[in-house]
Symmetry: C2
Subunit: 395 residues, 2 copies
């Protein structure tokens, strides 16, 4: 009764595995500022619950395997605002961006195939690929370059006959980096030359600061048939617990085949789709409001970090994360110490050790990801506690 | 830009692939009685929507990867009624029984491994295994035996070093067969002798007619560490669109490893878990009421089928399906003909061709699955239309 190699080899989520420690110290009465998980404190727009509360069917029926037509059309209209046109049969609703990525991986890779991913990357990419026997080949990016891509020749070196796709999140989790247009065009060029799919995880689109505009990969010409866009309501609409994501692609054959996977699992929760359809209707004013709020939070975090001796961190331009090199040897040990041993008047801060965001052994050991998902007052307090914690830890 | 072999080789859901035809004829004004899908017309108990409507958090937060503690405890209490004890860390909440089965498969099988499944079986088992490169080895069961298991020696013949588990639904979809205690004990014996896991899909538990009691595999002694129970609110509580399932096992190592897969996809929809926690609290009176209703429906279907010349069908004792051999050569052609060419006063019936429920080539070609999920009046009318349809088709 052995378990499978694939599950035994899978790492525990580095973001979630320290949760039991946090739960324990909170039970003991400590207050924990959670900067370790991308769970925003922003109110979920009321239209979401209103739509669900008004749902008037007596039976909570199966939805369509492809998704609720209302939600699909709402998403299509959202993309259309940026001139990106998807037909009705080019969108699939999924159980969060997570299922969107798992299904995409299954549909384009057989066991042993490879996907290129700039590192550090969203750690759960390991789960979506490892569970279905696909390997991630990291494209290393560096803090001192603001985590931008290396040159085309550096990337091409990593391609083998097993390489099927390039996957990246843009704006980036955990880096907060927004790809420049020339980087996106380079990706498109490589994909065409080596016949690869492009999987563009755009769940943080809209979180673009300092006047930047996060461009969707859907706007890049000449690669429409090989571009797959991953969407989610979790972050933009602060509805993480709704678990509504989607896959968009002009490659109808791909969508038709992923639909087979959707059919096997029948459908995504009906009520959540009803609510999510309303979220995508929110106008640009909503997005601008959200963006301004997060820019303020980013500024607080970044300016505090600048003042702490020994921290290396470029100013991030998007999403709501940043990766910082701390003046410690082992960031995970520091994070656990902050939870278990340290507090300022009964309060402490929880961060994510960044090692798990790298595929290359040894990278990120002294780095953390900070999610600036709390209101500005809480962020100011949390940064103060972090500063004091580092002082004490290193004394 | 090839798609993966595993997705290309996957069959379209035989239950869902004819849906576009039904949608088209309905648009043209035809009324279709849907006996093709296990979507009950029974009202979802009001406690489900009430709990959701009373949910008072301003942010729809992530839930725990393992699931909401309230729901987990509610499920534990449900099993305890039958003397089956699960600890808190022996239950995982999943996106329907579908995800429960996919995760279980990934956790106990590597690519190329095999799972024994009595056929005909729930066709989506193909999706949950094929997508992750696991092969189903069918144990053929026959209509004339009421789809009960063959002898131990017949089953053992199918076991190879690649065999990791026996999977079955009990009560059975699509057969409506309830395993006898001696069959369950035989499965336990085989599992022990050949060191296999037992995956018991019990989403139809409670639907047991004629005084029979569907026994949970969790009651069978001596195999607790190798038994995995798959649960769902979809059928018992008529909440298919909620997508709440769960995995139960006394094998803590297994649960701990499946939790890694749960962590990668973060969580199951928060609101649906809040609602589902109330469903599992419904008492035995509710289950008895549901069972009586379905028994009435079963009787209508079975007695009509008995009168139609050329139909072979044993009386099913559970779930809400039966498999019938029709006096036609190709059941799929007949189902399409019923949709496109036939009606009684503008009304017709949709059934599921059963071929897709078999893994052995050639079996089930003249069989259909009938889901008796509509109220008794509708079932009487639908059976009348089926009878007339068969008459005309064969004339």
């Amino acid at each position: 009764m052995e378990l499978s190699k694939r599950v035994l080899e899978m790492q525990e989520s580095p973001v979630r595995k320290l949760v039991p420690i946090a739960t324990r110290v909170k039970k003991q009465g400590k207050k924990v500022f959670h900067l370790n998980i991308g769970q925003p404190d922003i109110e979920t727009p009321k239209v979401f619950m209103e739509a669900i509360n008004n749902y008037d069917s007596k039976v909570i029926n199966y939805s369509f395997s492809q998704g609720e037509p209302k939600l699909i059309n709402s998403i299509r209209a959202y993309f259309k605002r940026d001139g990106i046109i998807f037909d009705e049969d080019e969108v699939l609703i999924t159980n969060g961006g997570s299922e969107a990525l798992t299904f995409t991986t299954i549909a384009i890779c057989d066991p042993g195939d490879e996907i290129l991913v700039p590192e550090p990357f969203y750690t759960n990419y390991n789960g979506f690929t490892g569970g279905v026997n696909v390997n991630i080949k990291p494209i290393t990016t560096l803090a001192q370059d603001g985590f931008h891509l290396p040159s085309k020749s550096e990337i091409i070196k990593l391609i083998t006959p097993k390489t099927k796709a390039i996957l990246f999140s843009n704006p980036g989790n955990p880096t907060g980096t927004i790809l420049r247009l020339d980087e996106m065009e380079m990706i498109a060029e490589i994909a065409k030359e080596f016949d690869l799919f492009i999987i563009s995880d755009e769940v943080y689109r809209g979180f673009a600061f300092d006047g930047l505009k996060g461009i969707s990969m859907g706007s890049i010409k000449g690669v429409e048939d090989r571009t797959i866009i991953i969407e989610s309501v979790s972050k933009r609409y602060s509805a993480c617990g709704a678990r509504i994501g989607s896959i968009q692609s002009k490659n109808k054959k791909l969508i038709k085949n992923i639909l087979k996977l959707c059919q096997a699992r029948l459908c995504v929760a009906t009520l959540e789709q009803v609510g999510a359809a309303e979220l995508y209707k929110l106008d640009d004013e909503y997005t601008a409001m959200i963006k301004d709020e997060y820019q303020k939070r980013r500024d607080i975090v970044y300016s505090t970090l600048q003042k702490i001796p020994g921290i290396v961190c470029e100013k991030p331009s998007g999403a709501f994360y940043l990766v910082a090199k701390l003046p410690v040897e082992d960031a995970e040990e520091f994070v656990i110490w902050m939870l278990e041993e340290f507090d300022v008047d009964g309060e402490t801060v929880m961060l994510s050790p960044a090692e798990g965001f790298y595929a290359t052994e040894g990278l990120g050991k002294d780095e953390v990801r900070i999610a600036y998902v709390l209101n500005t007052d809480a962020m100011i307090r949390a940064m103060y506690i972090l500063e004091k914690g580092l002082e004490k830890y290193n004394s």
